[in-house]
């Protein structure tokens, strides 16, 4: 199958490569770009391990063709680290509140939580649970994930307030 010239912005950098149009975005990220934070857990859009941010929306990159991502802005969990290399607030709160165990769902969880808190900076527990329902975790039972996200919301809001 002939390949297309793919260009997109990933984690703030312009990237390009050759790929068959049917290539899934997750495979392009992982295999062409060596961005292995997003994982493959089901390939049917159920588990959310492959969640990335595309033009300001959470998408499951296992069901997005690379052709659909042409020219888009993509953020993965690697792009949520602070400029100095330290963990971003959501990442830090997942660590602080034991919001992960095997770590396989974590990049998708954190990337989804990042978008959720953009959409709703003050979510209730119920809103967090509903907003994260597209991401499966087999280890934590979600209780500490919910706690991590609530703590991240508080920290981000406090930071915003301090800056204003």
């Amino acid at each position: 199958m002939s390949k297309m010239h793919v260009k997109m912005n990933v984690n703030g950098k312009e990237v390009e490569g050759l790929a068959e149009p049917r290539t899934l975005l997750i495979h392009f990220l992982r295999e062409n770009l060596n961005i292995t934070g997003p994982h493959i857990g089901c390939e049917t859009s159920h588990c959310g391990a492959c969640t990335v941010d595309m033009d300001g929306k959470s998408v499951k990159s296992c069901t997005v063709f690379v052709a659909q991502a042409q020219g888009k802005d993509v953020t993965t969990v690697e792009g949520l680290v602070n400029e100095d290399g330290s963990l971003g607030v959501i990442q830090e709160m997942f660590r602080e509140h034991h919001g992960l165990q095997c770590g396989f769902c974590t990049p998708g969880m954190i990337t989804r939580a990042h978008r959720l808190l953009q959409e709703n900076p003050n979510p209730t527990e119920e809103e967090i649970r509903f907003g994260m329902a597209g991401n499966l975790c087999r280890c934590t039972g979600y209780q500490n994930i919910v706690k991590s996200i609530a703590a991240a919301a508080d920290t981000l809001n406090a930071q915003k307030e301090a800056a204003e």
Binding site: C47, E78, L87, E92, Q101, T106, T140, Q143, V146
Partner: protein, 809 residues
């Protein structure tokens, strides 16, 4: 602050040792996507393998044509059983003493069975070519019911019958039918039957624990790289037991064991799925040998659910005898175990039904008998311990249902029935009727604490009111109170009776102290999310007084780690954790001699104090472990070798027996069949607690897996052997939305035989959680005459139960 001015409490706190909710060291990598899982491995020239799988549950393979597949650009090879046969690799041994086809050898026995292995330059080409492999099948009659299988003329495994069609002897003794695998008996049959015939009361029930699947978020996979120049094979994979895999690969491939390096990198959850050896592992190795290039195989979710490692599928017929005031006098159980097309259970060799003989549970039952009959059917092979220690969850579900059934028969409160039958604290160590020696327990204390914490008596009053309201037409909801007191048996196990493929189930730890007082430790286990790098460092910190933050922990590389049997069956803390403490104590013993030399006193004149040895009676004269470490490399001490390191291979004297008391309250909508979990209280006693934060996380996760299993998760087949639940659309995994918050609690009853008293906890919540959720559903319907119904309690089944009981008017 210097070493002199810190208080003992401050010095202990600085270590972040046992009992500290130390934050996990793994998380800095994982939270920024820097884990290194099998599918993240990328090697030069690496090829991808993909399977052609059988659409039929039972069929002869008449022919396989690979011609069109080989024409796909990028395809390098298509392997079939014919290609593997000359190497003797078309079949492989299973962990249960059976053998299993790697690629279909003339027939297939379950839907999804591996038929051919396509190797290509990328995963898309491999998938394209797999579609083009033409397989001509001749369908055979399908047997999916284990009871039918034992009566059927259809012979599933022609390789296990003689020329007259009679079953040959199996790995676990005589077989009475071609589809019969083994019968395993424990306890006293005649004595138990006598008790049953003379008892005041006998309750009898069939308790079915349905077929499900561990379904870790990361599927199974491997990368094999055969270096033809050095003759060395490196095999990365999702292995819960990397050392055992190395030995097995050596034995079946003929490659010398020193030429095989097995590496388990980060593992994205295991839950028993990654204990066994799978066709994909073997095929990736063969493909790498054949092509001379590294070959990666990673299964997709559908392949995972259809082929690698189902769990449970136990039909447990039970009889329980008691006096009229509720003292249990005997327990009888006959289990029909559906093992699928090959017996690929993950059990210690001498235990074909695992530790199912822990089924007397937490109760002092004087007489008992258990028989388990293994059966071949046209379903996927397995029978793995899905977040449990070898059939312990089956056993716990069985006894906790039988107690409830007996309570109904006696018209007694099930909490009280449990209480009067618990093994008492002063009976430990307790010899059970089915052959185990329980190490320690205090069930009454745990039970009373649990009942009091949830306000049990008040809940029953509320429930009685709700039943009245329901009957009066004021509500359509029913309240269920689920009770469970479970006893586990984990930490397999003593080499005298526990081995897997002949390998004794000890485990190991090697610790090296560096001159500047930091350390590296390596273990024979492998974390899959349990946080070993965090918790094992805590054990060492407490034992030798160096901060946990200064201790690196490594697992999973067979070239560097000491030999061990891996992580499953909650064995890491009971076995490798003990090895860790013992290795640390060897180091401390040498450190004592070094300290005495430096302090110019006799060895016996110094004593251990948190992070140092001090002169007895003169605590101001001391040497810290850090100072001692440097001296070990810097001083010529008479009679001592330089350096400070130790290794321990720990053969546990007994299993450990964690226990717990769980109570679930739920509300059932009889018209929709929905069950709303109102509260869940989990009290766990895992002995000494190493990291309370991690224990709590393990309990949350295990309870959620229990919720899934009890309330909807199932591998279901139709009568043709088609898998009806092969994707996450049909196979239930709770999301954050369906999952409740849990209340966790604990008591602490240390194991008397474990060096630090720890018992293991990761699987307790699954073992106790499943009966607790299920008992809650049953309890809601108890006033309307329900005694027993089968899991999973999804909306449909609950609605059906309500309907069958006439609750829909």
């Amino acid at each position: 602050m210097n070493e002199q001015t810190l208080t003992p409490e401050q010095r202990a706190a600085n270590l972040k040792g046992m009992g500290s909710s130390r934050k996990r060291v793994e998380d800095v990598r994982f939270t920024q996507g820097k884990g290194n899982y099998v599918d993240d491995i990328k090697l030069d020239g690496m090829l991808f393998g993909d399977f052609v799988r059988s659409p039929y549950a039972h069929a002869r393979v008449v022919s396989i044509n690979t011609e069109e597949a080989m024409k796909v650009p990028g395809v390098v090879a298509v392997l079939t059983a014919e290609d593997l046969a000359p190497l003797g690799l078309h079949w492989m041994p299973t962990l249960a003493g059976d053998k299993q086809m790697v690629l279909a050898d003339g027939k297939v026995l379950f839907q999804g069975q591996e038929v051919a292995f396509v190797v290509a330059e990328d995963r898309y080409a491999a998938a394209d070519a797999a579609e083009l492999v033409e397989v001509d099948y001749e369908e055979l009659p399908v047997v999916v019911d284990p009871f039918e299988a034992l009566k059927s003329d259809v012979v599933l495994r022609e390789d296990t019958v003689d020329e007259n069609g009679n079953a040959t002897e199996g790995a676990h003794g005589p077989r009475n039918h071609p589809n019969h695998i083994f019968t395993w008996e424990q306890g006293e049959k005649e004595a138990t039957e006598a008790v049953l015939s003379e008892a005041d009361v006998v309750a009898e029930e069939m308790v079915y624990y349905h077929r499900t699947h561990p379904c870790p978020l990361e599927t199974c996979g491997s990368v094999a790289s055969m270096d033809k120049v050095t003759g060395k094979l490196t095999l990365w994979g999702t292995f819960q037991a990397p050392h055992a895999i190395r030995t097995v690969v050596s034995l079946i491939s003929g490659i010398a064991e020193h030429n095989i390096r097995v590496i388990s990198p980060d593992i994205g959850g295991g839950f028993g799925n990654k204990v066994g050896a799978y066709a994909g592992y073997v095929c990736s190795v063969v493909a790498s040998i054949v092509t001379g290039k590294p070959v990666k195989w990673v299964e997709d979710r559908m392949e995972n659910l259809m082929s690698t490692a189902f769990a449970r599928d136990y039909w447990m017929k039970g009889k329980i005898a008691a006096t009229k005031d509720g003292k249990i006098t005997g327990l009888w159980c006959h289990t029909t175990a559906d093992h699928g097309g090959f017996d690929a259970c993950a059990d210690p060799t001498k235990f074909p039904a695992g530790f199912m003989n822990i089924c007397t549970g937490s109760y002092d039952i004087p007489t008992a008998y258990l028989a388990v009959e293994g059966v071949y059917t046209n379903k996927a092979p397995g029978g793995v311990a899905y977040r449990c220690s070898f059939r312990v969850t089956e056993a716990a579900y069985f006894i906790e249902r039988m107690i409830e059934v007996l309570a109904i028969k006696l018209n007694m409160d099930a909490a009280e029935l449990r209480r009067i039958n618990f093994i008492k604290k002063d009976q430990f160590p307790y010899q059970s009727a089915l052959g185990w020696e329980y190490d320690s327990g205090d069930y009454h204390t745990a039970w009373d604490k649990a009942l009091e914490s949830v306000g049990y008596d008040k809940l029953r009053v509320e429930q009685a009111q709700q039943i009245e309201d329901f009957k009066a037409g004021k509500t359509r909801k029913l309240m269920g109170i689920g009770l469970t007191h479970f006893t586990e048996i984990v930490g397999a196990g003593p080499v005298k009776n526990c081995d897997i493929l002949g390998l004794g189930m000890f485990d190991s730890c090697e610790i090296r102290i560096h001159p500047t007082g930091s350390a590296i430790a390596r273990l024979g286990t492998i974390s899959q999310g349990q946080g070993h790098a965090t918790t094992f460092a805590q054990i060492i910190a407490s034992e030798i007084g160096l901060p946990a933050d200064d201790i690196t922990l490594e697992e999973g590389d067979t070239d560097t780690a000491p030999y061990g049997l891996g992580t499953y069956g909650s064995r890491s803390t009971p076995v490798a954790g003990a090895a860790t403490a013992m290795a640390a104590r060897k180091i401390r013993a040498k450190a004592q001699m070094i300290a005495a030399y430096l302090l110019e006193v006799h060895d016996d004149d110094v004593e251990w104090d948190i992070d140092r040895f001090a002169v007895k009676g003169a605590p101001e004269r001391f040497k810290t472990m850090k100072e001692i470490a440097f001296a070990a490399y810097n001083q010529a001490i008479p009679g001592l070798e330089p350096g400070l390191e130790a290794v321990s291979y720990y053969d546990p004297p007994n299993m450990t027996y964690p226990f717990g008391a769980y109570i679930c309250v739920l509300d059932i909508d009889v018209d929709t069949g929905e069950a709303d979990i109102r509260s869940f209280y989990a009290l766990d006693d895992c002995g000494t607690r190493i990291n309370p934060m991690i224990i709590e996380g393990q309990v949350h996760g295990g309870l959620t897996e229990a919720l899934a299993i009890a309330m909807g998760q199932e591998i279901a087949y139709d009568e043709m052997g088609n898998v009806k639940t092969g994707t996450l659309m049909d196979f239930f995994i709770p999301t954050a939305w369906e999952t409740p918050n849990y209340i966790t609690d604990h008591t602490t009853t240390p194991s008397p035989h474990h060096p630090i008293g720890a018992k293991g906890v990761g699987e307790s919540p699954n073992v106790g959680g499943v009966p607790c959720f299920s008992n809650a559903v049953h309890d809601a319907f108890r006033p309307f005459g329900l005694t027993q119904t089968h899991m999973p309690h999804d909306h449909w089944r609950i609605w059906k139960t309500a309907n069958d009981l006439g609750l829909h008017g």
